[in-house]
Symmetry: C2
């Protein structure tokens, strides 16, 4: 494969009998070059089909206006919204976005992070995989003076910028809403407890129960029910109890809640009358099920923007050793039919 050489500033310089430095200055619109020359260079560059070589430029300038993003799955509503939000901001700043997915695997996450460090990106934005492991790779990022922002699922011990949802608070409010609707035996579907977000959601659940003097029952808490299938399984089990729950809070995801809904519906259980269901994430489909599912919106697109802005406002070009900020976003409970037993009463917006 013999690709013909691209036009470089030297080619332009040669043609115009100029020095490459002048061409470079003309192209970067420096004021150290005559307006006429500038125009000539620009014109010639266009004619010769010149394209700026970002690799060479970045190498010389020692910085790469690129941000790397590592998420568990690109095609998950929450994450693709986050990415869209980030892109919206980085695009305006002329930054590129390199995207990787860990597929929830720790080894792959490490791989992705290393590739990004090799690229000398300016910043790495990450939400860690469910399969956690040592976090040396993240420490490495910092050691290499690359900015690091963790979001949603974070390694708490690691002292970095973070953008998180106040999962505990959201969870607390969701459960409070259930209680206000008269539910008393509220089951919890938990996610993998090695992830902080799921621990926090559980804490919110427990806090709400305690606050209202409702006993916490071990039998009503199901570990690792974070897919539709696992949610369905857990539900089948819960509904088979001698004293089944009157509400299920699928704190893991709306998919899990969907599993709950299907099993319950198949059993002929009336929702919300006999069983309340609350999910998490405000996936688009929650509005469309029958009944529609109460859930928690995480403002994912705007969260993505917040993350990117954090970089540009607090980190770009500034000292490396500033005190990391932690931004906490309060998610919002979206009340829908799956939990509305008492028509008039609504939870706090």
């Amino acid at each position: 494969m013999q690709r013909q050489k691209r036009t470089t500033i030297y080619d332009i310089a040669l043609k115009l009998n100029l020095a490459a430095s002048s061409v470079s200055r003309a192209l970067s619109n420096s004021n150290k070059v005559n307006a006429a020359t500038k125009a000539l260079v620009l014109k010639t560059a266009a004619e010769m089909n010149y394209q700026h070589n970002a690799m060479a430029s970045n190498l010389r300038k020692g910085n790469n206006p690129t941000i790397g993003v590592v998420v568990p799955r690109i095609n998950q509503n929450f994450f693709s919204n986050i990415i869209a939000g980030i892109e919206e901001v980085t695009y305006k700043k002329g930054y590129n976005l390199i995207i990787c997915q860990s597929n929830e695997l720790h080894a792959r996450e490490v791989d992705c992070v290393n590739a990004l460090v090799n690229q000398h990106v300016s910043c790495i934005i990450i939400s860690i995989a469910a399969e956690t492991g040592p976090y040396e790779h993240l420490q490495q990022v910092l050691d290499h003076q690359i900015r690091l922002i963790q979001f949603d699922r974070v390694v708490e011990e690691l002292d970095t910028f973070k953008v998180i949802n106040n999962n505990e608070k959201a969870s607390y409010e969701a459960v409070t809403h259930l209680i206000e609707q008269g539910y008393r035996r509220i089951a919890l579907l938990e996610g993998p407890q090695q992830l902080d977000i799921f621990r926090h959601r559980k804490e919110g659940y427990l806090a709400a129960l305690r606050k209202h003097n409702i006993p916490v029952l071990e039998e009503l808490m199901c570990e690792n029910a974070w897919t539709k299938e696992l949610g369905a399984e857990a539900t089948a089990q819960l509904l088979g109890l001698e004293n089944p729950p009157d509400a299920i809070f699928a704190s893991t995801s709306d998919f899990s809640a969907l599993g709950v809904l299907e099993v319950a519906t198949n059993k002929g259980i009336q929702i919300p009358k006999d069983l309340g269901i609350c999910g998490y994430s405000n996936e688009p489909f929650t509005e469309l099920t029958s009944p529609s599912i109460t859930t928690i919106d995480q403002y994912s697109i705007s969260m993505g923007k917040t993350i990117a802005n954090l970089y540009f406002q607090e980190m770009e070009g500034l000292e490396f050793n500033v005190e990391p900020k932690i931004v906490s976003i309060k998610p919002k409970v979206i009340v829908r039919k799956s939990t509305q037993r008492i028509p008039g009463v609504n939870t706090t917006a």
Copy 2:
């Protein structure tokens, strides 16, 4: 901001009293360097926290193992699945993925493409924006010897590799299914006709009607009904006709079909008995509505893989001027309740 210098191969060379070239060879596992030295270099590199500089390397080697992807919207199910599929393949090949979204705007698409050309990416994968315009920017890509793969929404005139869905065929089959179910006055919700995909879908619709000797009625074809809102509007209008349709094929998207469903349901129309509804894309929610919506699956994740494989199998490292291939994928009609009037009869799978 004074960031301390990163370790380079020169630093390692200095420390070990070697030449940089040897260090480079050791790190790239060349067989032109002694095993002992190799081990020593590797060890020292690790100790000194060395990280390979991809920018310098790519510059020297004159290639950038990176693929750029431009899509209208990152957070649209179809596209995020495509991206996930592409990533799956490129990750294994050690390629990076730069993602941009055009937001359906032509100017922004041009911007994104230019940025990718500047980066000297190896390949650009694109699905064009709804707001079309001149396609010089794509011609430019080819002029710069960068591989170009168009997918889904393509500029037909442009002679490049393409991965497309056989929209006409899919559409034909969907309408045929409607006819088999006894629907006779089938309305069509069209998308922007400057996009080839929507033209093809319309052709499939027309072909199916003709094939079954069903008259084509202008009043049953609605232009530009490709969002939920527009779909709803169009439906309201259609159902107000003296002779309303008995089925609506929302060839634009499932969102549009959702609009149809809502309006029809609100009017108390029985689905599928009095009105059949068919969407396009197999969005996850189509399974969840009541009734569930018949739609067309585009195998998006596997399509993403196909696209990436096309690059690696047909283009990477090969001659630039090979005859572009066009891969056509046949989407599949997913029959659900919104069109099943006759329980037994099913369409071809």
